[in-house]
Amino acid sequence: MAKFATALEQGVSPPTAAYTKRPRRAHTPRRWSGAAGPWFVAPFLILFLLLFLAPLGYAAYLSLFQQRLIGGTVFVGLDNYVTALKDPLLLHGVGRVALFFVIQVPLMLLLALLFALALDSGLLRMARVIRLGIFVPYAVPSVVATLMWGYLYGPDFGPFAQLSRKLDLPAPHFLSESWMLGSLANIVTWEFVGYNMIILYAALRTIPQDLYEAAAMDGAGSWRIAWSIKLPALRPALLLTLLFSVIGSFQLFNEPSLLMKIAPDVISSSYTANLYAYSLAFTGNQVNYAATVSFLLGLVIVIASYVVLLTANRRRAT
């Protein structure tokens, strides 16, 4: 920043310098640059084709067939999609992750935002230690995290249950039907608050100090600065974390699939849409239908992401 300021003082405007160079470039043969382009893009394009578009196309192809143990494979057109749209298991699964998204994501992002602002305020002692502490859960693999929380939640020998028994209180049943979604949300929040906090914190660090100085000169306090400068500046970063969270929530899989082992009566094989797709393919032999479900889930995610972007942009416009 400082360098830029001195450049401005000296009256040298970098953009102008760039403009003056441009005409010279135009003389270089156009063919050369045109031929080089694809080479630069090729590594990405090839991987994109092989690892993304090809499987996607294959899944789309699969979703148009039905395979049976008896009778082999038949082309069924869009029948699988019709079935899926009426499939209560799929609809409940999508509904459940939508509910999860609506409750868990705002809480998580709010916490991440509070932590990021607190760290950025410079008022915390041992800020580095705290920052690392909040971030560390993200470094724990989600499988390990879920197993650990699964133990903590245990109704017989988990620490919460033991403590409440010592105090003669009814043990909280974290793994029961009514608590499960909350227990899952807690695990996911624990895992990802630090990750989102780091993104927001990094965004806060890019705000030029001059703005704060100017605001202070104008008599703004810390809260006012946070509200009028930091929050608006964080909007793109918040949007990014929100988008990641949309995708993460709708693809919820690891945590429920692991808790299934200790709460099989609560978490069914169709508890979340992603878990349902997996069970269809790997326990039900219904690869085609699994492809259909995955495709529809992808569509839901695209729509949800689009809605999020749209609302955010509309807010900005008004």
Binding site: R68, L69, F157, K261, P264, F282, N285
Partner: protein
């Protein structure tokens, strides 16, 4: 009993889940490839001549064998010593789910499948429906019939005299109980299920922290074993595509009322098994019995060390005390994959591994598998083992006797994974939720029927 059994037995239960969770896309895909008409099922296939067998066994060959059995190289070494030209490459492709998923994928891909694989009894029909197993009858396997316990042979053979696999170990079901807890509360070892239910009520009333048993709500394998004991015939296939499903018939309903009732009263627990809390439950005396299989005694002695000396074994309680019966839970076989290029060598290996007296005995003494051969079950050196964990009781003898009472005609569905998942989500859930288990049986029945019809089966007796 030595700890080395632990991996084997933890797999014993995964065995089922495996088959449960595992039968993956390959199954469906293999089915679509059109060669699904049963794998070499033509029992009319001509027997391979002894000359051909001799020739093949002298030709340098490498066999690949996918198995999860720990330290199986010792048994394999016996085979390689007898047939130096044949080398067996052992691959541990994972236990349970991982193993079957990889096998399915390789079968579907058309390359990379092993010559032989470890397959559990209940998974055999799930693999034969896709034509993935080689019929071993033409390779001399039929001659082994009398060496194996009758019900195990029933499990591996097809209706046309096919032999799909060679039995390796088994899991006839019995009852392990805490003698100290029984003595303390004056409970006799229950001989019938009625006595068992009375004991459950009495015990839980006397000490609300203790349950007579834990019927895991996530263990379809145990339920199937109990169905088997009760004489149920939940699945029957006739021909290739006709299937009868009766998981909510009178026998099943009797079981549903019995266990659903006990669960509803809250006198038994329904904790998920093979989970942390379950292990803790054994160590802290939450469960006074375990309805388990013959691999259970060795498993428990490794998992509940703090209770050593307090356990004893007995047969399962009976529905009809005059006709003792039991079911099977767990155990596995060696099967030859149909795509093998060395069918003779592979089938001879499968037979040798499980029927050669030295090899079969080694499974019992090294891996602590419960034997499938008649010879071993009457071998004094096996049956006289008296582990201190069970107060010096001859546990093997008890389970050897139980093995004789296992019915020979129990059949598995050609889509075990689906049956098991659906059980957990209907019947298992009703046990855990203390809701109507008999109604849940109906839901299980209708879910399976729908699934079978969707898979193209003609469903009878629904």
């Amino acid at each position: 009993m030595p700890r080395s059994f632990v991996p084997t037995s933890s797999m014993s239960r995964r065995r089922f889940l495996a088959a449960t969770g595992a039968v993956s896309l390959g199954a469906a895909l293999a089915a679509c490839s059109g060669d699904s008409d049963s794998g070499g099922s033509s029992a009319s296939a001509k027997p391979v001549s002894q000359a051909d067998i001799d020739k093949a066994m002298k030709t340098p060959t490498q066999l690949t064998f996918w198995t999860w059995v720990p330290n199986i190289q010792h048994e394999v070494a016996l085979f390689e010593k007898k047939y130096p030209a044949i080398k067996v490459k052992i691959v541990n492709a994972g236990q349970g789910v991982a193993h079957y998923t990889k096998l399915r994928t390789a079968l579907k891909a058309g390359t990379g499948a092993p010559d032989l694989a470890q397959i559990e009894y209940q998974a055999i029909p799930t693999f034969t429906i896709t034509g993935s197993l080689l019929n071993l009858a033409p390779y001399g396997a039929s001659a082994l019939k009398d060496q194996f316990v009758d019900w195990t042979w029933g499990q591996v053979s097809g209706p046309g005299g096919e032999v799909w696999a060679i039995p390796q170990d088994t899991g006839p079901m019995g009852l392990l109980y805490r003698k100290d807890i029984f003595d303390k509360h004056g409970i006799q070892v229950p001989g019938t299920w009625d006595q068992f239910a009375a004991a459950a009520r009495k015990l839980h009333k006397a000490d609300p922290r203790v349950y007579l048993t834990n019927l895991a709500a996530n263990e379809p394998a145990a339920w199937h074993g109990l169905l088997w004991q009760a004489g149920a015939k939940p699945y029957a296939t006739s021909g290739k595509s006709t299937l009868s499903i009766s998981v909510d018939d009178a026998v099943s309903k009797k079981l549903g009322e019995y266990w659903g009732g006990l669960a509803k009263e809250g006198v038994i627990s329904t904790d998920p098994d093979f989970a942390d809390a379950w292990y803790a439950g054994f160590n802290k005396g939450k469960y006074a019995t375990w309805l388990t299989a013959a691999w259970g005694p060795a498993f428990l002695s490794g998992s509940a060390k703090s209770t050593a000396g307090t356990w004893r074994a007995a047969p399962l309680p009976q529905w009809d005390a005059s006709k003792p019966a039991s079911g099977n839970w767990g155990g596995s076989t060696t099967a030859v994959i149909r795509s093998t290029k060395n069918p003779i060598a592979a089938s001879q290996f499968a037979q040798f591994l499980n029927s050669d007296p030295a090899s079969a005995k080694m499974f019992a003494t090294n891996q602590f598998s419960f034997p499938a051969t008649k010879a071993l079950l009457t071998d004094a050196s096996f049956t006289s083992d008296a582990p201190s964990f069970y107060g010096g009781q001859k546990v093997n003898q008890i389970f050897a006797d139980i093995s004789d009472t296992v019915s020979t005609s129990f059949q598995w569905p050609p889509f075990l994974d689906q049956a098991a998942t659906d059980w957990t989500e209907t019947v298992g859930k009703s046990l855990a939720d203390k809701s109507d288990t008999v109604a849940a049986l109906g839901t299980w029945q209708s879910r399976l029927t729908t699934y079978a019809k969707n898979q193209g089966f003609t469903v009878k007796g629904a």
